[in-house]
Structures are given as C-alpha cells and as structure tokens.
C-alpha cells in the first residue's frame, strides 16, 4: 500500500493524474517519487510535493491501494482514467477526481471539487462529504455523460449533477443543486433530501427520485400517476408515495421524475389532473 502525504499547504493548482493505481502498479517508491506532476506553471516530481511511503503487505488487493492523507483541495485529476485498484483519501480533494474512470474504487472522507466522476464509464466513487458542481457530467460541449458505474455521496452536491447521464447510478444522501439530471438519457439518480429547481430539465429518459422537497416542477413536465414505491437499484426500493412526472416535453422525453408526495404538498394541485 502506498501512502501519500502532501509536504505543504498547496497554493497553486496541482495537476496529479499520475496518482492512479494503474500507474503506481509495479513501480518502486523511488519511481513513484519521480513521476511528473505540475504545480502552477512549473513541472515537478511527485516526491517534491508528496511524502511517499510504502507499507508492505501481502494482501494483493491492499497492495494496489493508494491512501492520501491531508488537504488536497488544490490537487486535480486524481485517479483520472483509472481502470483498477483503489484510492482512499482522508481530506478534501480538488476537481476532476476519477474523471473518465473505467474501474476500481475511490473513497473520499472529505469534500470534493467539481467534475468528480466526469464521463465515468465504470467503477465506484464514494464520497463522505459534499461535492461541488457537475458530478458525473461531461466536458464542455460533449454529450458523453456518465455511462456506468456508481457514485455515492453522503453530503450535498452542487448544480447539474448527472448531466447527460447515459447509464449507471448516482445516490445522494444530502441535497442536490439545480438542474439535477439535465439532459439525462438513462440511468438513475436518487436524492434523499431536497433538490434545487429544474430537476430533470430536458431529460429524455432515465429516472430521478427526490425524497425531499422540490420547489417547483418545470411546466414542461406532466403528471402521470402516484406511485407507492420506486426501485433505486437491484435490491433497493424506496417507499413513497411519489408523484410521478413524465418529461421533458420539449425534448419529447420519457424521463421519470419521482417526487415525494409527503414533502411536496405544494404540488397537490396536480392531483386534479389525475
């Protein structure tokens, strides 16, 4: 197991896509220390910015794991593109965590910057803290959203979580910002608490479940029915009742938006249409 500890409080952005189990794999501590990393506009070696320690272990799974302790909120692109292995972070971490991830697992005990799990294809990201905007969303101009894998957030998330999602699962046990599941096509997003406005805007398919309050439903969604329960994933079903809205009409969408009936009494005027 490799443990990394920042040697200082970073002031400039640190671009660290080299922190990736696939890259660390089969490298000696010295080789890891020599990996290229950027701090601001200067290229450095990983060892200049992080203390690298190797804890020998025979357990092959543990051997592949990278643990990072400390404040990494300036450190971007950790685990980007990773295919296997595990990263465990104790502390806050910067943008693009696990971007284009294809496998493995990242666990963060702290808050995470924007574009976590952006364009993710497979694997798991578990965040015990809050996440900024664009969780699992694609890069600017791209429609390649999350295609698979699972993101679990125990805190709150910012705007546009799950934008352009094509498959996979995002579970948020806190609140979500605006435009949750924007333009999603398939997959599932579950928010246990409240959602900001415009949830499901322009969605074409997929499922959004909000267990808490949603200020208003977009006028381009129509009420379909009231459901007693809704399935989140294999083996997990949440009890309702839920208002089920279908939309977004403007995209001729057939996305499903489930909203807790109990937490959204202001929507009961829709019931007259049922």
């Amino acid at each position: 197991m490799i443990t990394l500890t920042p040697k200082k409080e970073f002031r400039f952005p640190v671009i660290a896509e080299c922190i990736n189990p696939d890259i660390f794999h089969d490298k000696t501590t010295k080789e890891i220390e020599e990996l290229k990393i950027w701090e601001g506009n200067k290229q450095k070696m990983l060892g200049e910015l992080f203390k690298v320690e190797e804890n020998r272990t025979e357990n092959p799974q543990e051997r592949e794991a990278i643990t990072i302790n400390g404040n990494l909120n300036k450190v971007r692109r950790i685990g980007a593109g990773m295919k296997s292995g595990e990263i465990i972070i104790h502390g806050d971490v910067g943008m693009h965590l696990g971007e284009e991830m294809k496998g493995g697992k990242i666990t963060v005990h702290g808050n995470v910057g924007s574009w976590a799990g952006s364009m993710m294809k497979s694997g798991t990201i578990e965040i015990h803290g809050n996440v900024s905007d664009y969780l699992g969303a694609p890069y600017r101009g791209s429609i390649e959203g999350m295609r698979g894998g699972k993101i679990v957030v125990y805190g709150n998330v910012g705007n546009e979580a799950g934008a352009y999602m094509k498959n996979g699962l995002i579970k948020i046990y806190g609140n979500a910002g605006q435009f949750l599941g924007l333009r999603m096509r398939d997959g599932t997003i579950f928010v246990e608490k409240d959602s900001g406005g415009r949830a499901g805007a322009c969605m074409k398919g997929g499922k959004i479940v909000v267990g808490g309050f949603l200020e208003s439903v977009l006028p381009t969604f129509t009420i379909d029915s009231i459901k007693e329960k809704v399935k989140i994933e294999e083996g997990e079903t949440i009890a309702g009742p839920f208002y089920l809205f279908i939309g977004d009409l403007v995209e001729n969408g057939e996305g499903k938006l489930y909203l807790s009936k109990e937490k959204n009494p202001h929507l009961n005027h829709y019931e007259r249409l049922l």
Binding site: S114, W115, S132, D133, Y134, G158, N159, E160, G177
Partner: protein, 137 residues
C-alpha cells in the same frame, strides 16, 4: 400603510445609460460614481420603508452590506425588486458563487433594504479602503 423598517427584496444589477455615459468619461469621474452608488426602488417600496427619495439606505445580502442612495424608479411597478447599476457598490453585495461556470450571480439575489439616513454613501476611495484595506507590500 404599515411601515416596515426592513424590506425583503430581490436585487438586480445591470446597465443604465447614465452609468454607460459616466463610464466613458472615466471610472473616477463624478458622473460615473454618482450613477452607480444609487438604488432604484418601486415608489410603493419607498413608502413601505417610510422614506423619501434620495434618502440613504443600507442594502444587505448574505455577502455584505453597502450604503447607497435610494431613487424612485421610473419604471414601476416592480414591487420588491430593487436595481443597482453595475459598479463597485453593487459588487460588495452580489453573490460571488459561480456554480462551476465562471460567472458570479449578478441578478436575482435575495436582499434586505433598510433606511440608513445617518450613514454616508462612501466615496470610491473610502469604499476601497473599507473593502480591501490599504494596499501595502
């Protein structure tokens, strides 16, 4: 009419022709500074605050407070919507959050207005000192 000492409003910021004209004269010009340290309000809202036009008011948001001069809006009615032209005064109280898109929130910010007849509208220099302190290296 009941007179509230505090009024909950929505703050908009934006361009005015006066601010535009002033800006071209120079950002230290009197025209510019006078055109941006004001707040346009619905006359009914002024009444609700119990103040006359040209009284100083304090506008507060989650991000700060600033004293500006209240002016009667010529384009009423727009109850509970106030307007401050772009400039150093407005920026004390706008929402810096960009939500990952690079752009702070300059319009539609929840705010509170209260009369502040005894507090002065600061000059640009005073405002800069108040907000940023003296520049020293």
């Amino acid at each position: 009419m009941e007179k509230n000492q505090k009024l909950r409003v929505t703050l908009l910021t934006g361009r005015t022709i006066e601010q535009g004209v002033g800006k071209e004269r120079g950002k230290s010009s009197k025209e510019y500074l006078e055109s941006v340290s004001v707040c346009y309000m619905d006359p009914e809202d002024l009444k609700r605050l119990g103040i006359k036009e040209k009284t100083n008011i304090m506008v507060s948001t989650d991000y700060g407070s600033v004293v500006v001069k209240a002016l009667k809006s010529l384009r009423a009615p727009h109850p509970s919507v106030i307007f401050i032209p772009y400039g150093p005064w407005a920026n004390v109280i706008v929402n810096p959050e960009t939500h990952g898109i690079g752009m702070p929130s300059f319009k539609g910010i929840p705010a509170e207005v209260e009369p502040a007849p005894d507090k002065p509208v600061l000059s640009l220099e005073e405002l800069l000192v108040e907000q940023f302190g003296k520049k020293s290296k």
